[in-house]
Amino acid sequence: MLKIENFSKSFGGLKAIDGFNLELGSNDIHGIIGPNGAGKTTVFNLITGIYPTDTGRIWLGDAEVTGLPSDDLCCLGISRTFQNIRLFKQMTVWDNILTAFHQRIGYGFWDAAFHLSRFKKRERQISVESLEFLERFGLAERRDELAENLPYGEQRRLEIARALATNPRILLLDEPAAGMNPTEVEGLIGLIRDIHRDFELSILLIEHHMPVVMKLCQHVQVMDFGRTIATGDPHSVINDPLVIKAYLGDPEEIL
């Protein structure tokens, strides 16, 4: 589904990513772990077109998508959430999702400018669809609240929901469990499992919460200083001496 070959990226003199490779099959859930500053989020930024890569290529399905801008990548099926939640804070929960439905809005500029009948009809239909979508995530009751007023766990959920609203084939989750208490983490694990089951997509997950990685990922890739230092199934990876050494330098890990 997703194939990355030899990504590398330097910022000024600093080589943030060096020779990164990845292969993600349909319906896989892979994890990317590593100490802080290893370059995990940078990899996500490269995949989603926020920064251009210095070298390397990337394929989505059979098509090469190297160098495409973020919005094109989204239309082709790559979606993502962020480490620090990037919701549209001053917009309602409903509007956050509705905006993500823009690709299938079904009316054009002139319909909107004069509120023609096609506009009215499609707005009605999209309202229904989007509300059903919200219900699926348990957010329908909060639909008219401003996104910034939601409790933290629900904000995360909303961000994931919004990422799914664009019908992605690949979902990139950047530390979704960050800042969550154990109950919320359990809820998150359940949510991701449900998403994986209900929507047909592959998931790439950056996480520091090891339990999340252990429970969800079939395959894990460990990064340190921009390089992949280990790959494999979760159990063998965390017992790999190289990995342990990489983490020992970082006292914030929750192992």
Binding site: F11, T41, N45, I50, Y51
Partner: protein, 294 residues
């Protein structure tokens, strides 16, 4: 033939010198507080008028007293403006600062207009302007050379100030990282006030020279301020060397346009140059790119 070329070069140098004196103020203020001080062109205008008023109200005032006095007075106004209008907004949205600067500029223009009248005036000749005759029929007036020389001198003094003095170093530090500098106990307000003072003083000198060589009117800050600003951006806003480089470059292009194309096009060409440059090299010739962390 040679005579006209040399004349044009000198005109360009003179104009470039004036632009540079203004552009330096723009670039320093942007460097320290990231504000495009739209009112700066009007400080330039104000400086010219202060010089004009000094000359007309105190007959016989020697030019070596007039110029520094005008520079000092204008510097004072610059510091005052920063204190009253900009300081409070230092951490507010950028837009607010820029709009405020626009408002201050228009206020100054209309104030001068109301006090002195809208017509253009010329500062009576202050600098010796004997015509010097050279070979090949080249005739140069002394004041042109003096203006270029004094301006260059001021730029050298500025460079020394910014690079060799303690407060100059503080200015450069603030331009790099405002918050870290405060943590080191540097008085941010003092540094910023100094920036404004120096920038305004230089602009005032530019205003006096321009008023000497051409004329002054309350709205000249718009036209020339903009050109100087474009020069600063072309050179890379935030860079002192860039401001000087951009100024002479722009003046050269402008003088060439007037000489060989049409004087009506000179503004259009200046802006066109700006836009083209921003498209290919968004940070100017000597500017540094700031990468955003996502």
């Amino acid at each position: 033939m040679l005579a006209t070329v040399i004349q044009q070069l000198l005109n360009a140098a003179q104009l470039g010198a004036v632009y540079a004196l203004i552009a330096l103020g723009y670039t320093m203020v942007y460097g320290t507080i990231r504000l495009i001080n739209f009112a700066h062109g009007d400080i330039f205008m104000l400086g010219g008028f202060v010089g004009f008023l000094l000359v007309t109200m105190i007959p016989g005032l020697p030019v070596v007293v007039m110029i520094p006095s005008a520079m000092l007075l204008t510097a004072f106004v610059g510091v005052l403006i920063e204190r009253i209008a900009y300081r409070k907004l230092r951490n507010a949205q950028r837009m607010s600062l820029v709009i405020t600067a626009l408002g201050v500029g228009i206020f100054l223009e209309n104030l001068v207009r109301l006090l002195v009248g809208p017509q253009a005036r010329q500062i009576p000749a202050q600098l010796p302007n004997k015509a010097l005759k050279f070979a090949n029929g080249v005739v140069i007036t002394e004041d042109k050379i003096l203006i270029i020389a004094i301006s260059l001198l001021l730029m050298v003094v500025l460079w020394l100030f910014v690079n060799k003095t303690l407060i100059g170093t503080a200015m450069r530090a603030v331009a790099d990282n405002k918050d870290a500098v405060q943590l080191m106990g540097v008085n941010l307000n003092l540094v910023i006030s100094t920036t404004f003072a120096v920038g305004s003083a230089l602009a005032a000198a530019g205003g006096i020279f321009f008023g000497q060589a051409y004329s002054i009117d309350p709205y000249m800050g718009i036209d020339l301020g903009w050109k100087a600003f474009i020069a600063a951006v072309i050179g890379g806003i935030g860079s002192i060397e860039g401001a000087v480089l951009g100024s002479f470059l722009l003046a050269g292009v402008e003088v060439l346009t007037v000489a060989y194309l049409s004087s009506n096009l000179k503004n259009g060409i200046a802006f066109g140059l700006l836009i083209i440059l921003l498209l290919i090299r968004p940070n100017g010739i000597m500017g540094r790119a700031e990468l955003k962390k996502v």
